[in-house]
């Protein structure tokens, strides 16, 4: 007879195995542990609380349905994050907030305002508390276009390589590089601006 799993003290691996056998209580524990992280990724991409919550729940439903496909090549939370990112990308495409490459190409090549910006070196960490710094970074992220923000999030926070970003966003590697470049330049400009305000 198998021993009963103590959910709160079980590892993710044990809970995943239990859930793969159909143990929904084990899956509930995984949701409780990682729900904030999955929601946070959805929110960072969608920037709308209710939509992010709905998409994160949808990701968990898909996670349950595909659980047998999870082989443990990555951590469970990384696997779940990939699911929620794909759902967000699909949703952005449906809403046409994520523009097709051909439409964006011109902007990418000319570079908009960022192309003309002087080089700046932001260094607000000296003066800001970590929580405040995070707040300001988030405000700056919110001002980026969906394409630039998505490329930046996937590369900087999820550590996804150019090639994989291109695949997920449905564009060329060159476009990913441009999006990332202008996203960084804009962030640099926005954060430098915040620093100047603070000095005044």
């Amino acid at each position: 007879m198998s021993r009963k799993l103590d959910y709160p003290s079980a590892t993710d691996v044990e809970l995943v195995k239990a859930a793969q056998r159909g143990d929904m209580a084990g899956f509930e524990e995984l949701v409780a542990r990682h729900r904030d992280k999955i929601y946070a990724r959805a929110y960072s991409m969608m920037r709308q609380e209710e939509e992010a919550s709905d998409l994160s729940q949808e990701a968990w439903v898909k996670g349950w349905q595909r659980l047998k496909q999870f082989q443990g090549d990555s951590s469970f939370v990384t696997w779940m994050t990939r699911i929620v990112i794909n759902l967000c990308l699909d949703q952005l495409r449906k809403q046409k907030r994520l523009r097709a490459e051909s439409i964006e190409k011109l902007d990418e090549e000319t570079g908009g305002v960022e192309r003309q910006m002087p080089v700046v070196t932001p260094n607000p960490t000296e003066r800001l508390e970590r929580a405040e710094l995070r707040q300001r970074i988030d405000q700056a992220l919110a001002q980026l276009s969906v394409e630039h923000r998505t490329a930046l999030i996937l590369h900087e926070f999820e550590e996804v390589e150019y090639k994989e970003i291109a695949k997920r966003m449905g564009c060329s590697i060159g476009t990913v590089m441009s999006r990332l470049f202008y996203a960084r330049r804009r962030m640099s400009s926005l954060l430098a601006g915040l620093k100047r305000e603070e000095i005044k």
Partner: protein, 163 residues
Amino acid sequence: MMDHKTEVMLQALLDGELSEAQTATARAVIDRDAEARALYEELRSIKVLLAGNEIEWKLSEAREFYWSGIQREIEREERSADSEPRPTRSLHALLRLLLPVGAVGIVALSLALGWNQLSGSKSNLPALAGSHDIETPLEDAPSFTFRSEPEAMTVVWVDSGPN
């Protein structure tokens, strides 16, 4: 002013996306060009600034409420998957329909064979042949045969018509 190709090459250097030869080229550009150096530094600073400084958003919904929404959806989808017609079920439904028809066909076939035997031995049974008016249902009657190899079953369907 630097061209965009050089700009993204410097960024790719920062992101570790260049080959060995490309890395050497990018480093040479940084060494000889102050503008390239400044841009590389800007990109590097923003990368460092972002690392580990993403806001950790938290759900405002209570654990039970959030989970109940997920659970409801899982159960709803499982119910809907169960209620979808499956090919094997369709086959069973077809067989259920065909079996009574087949049974009628077998009875009809038995009667026909019986009559042929009786007809063949008419001279031996004059009393029987003469005392009964037996119709032959197979004559001029449309019919078709269904043979199922996996089921090892033959069904003959006979349509005797309204008359």
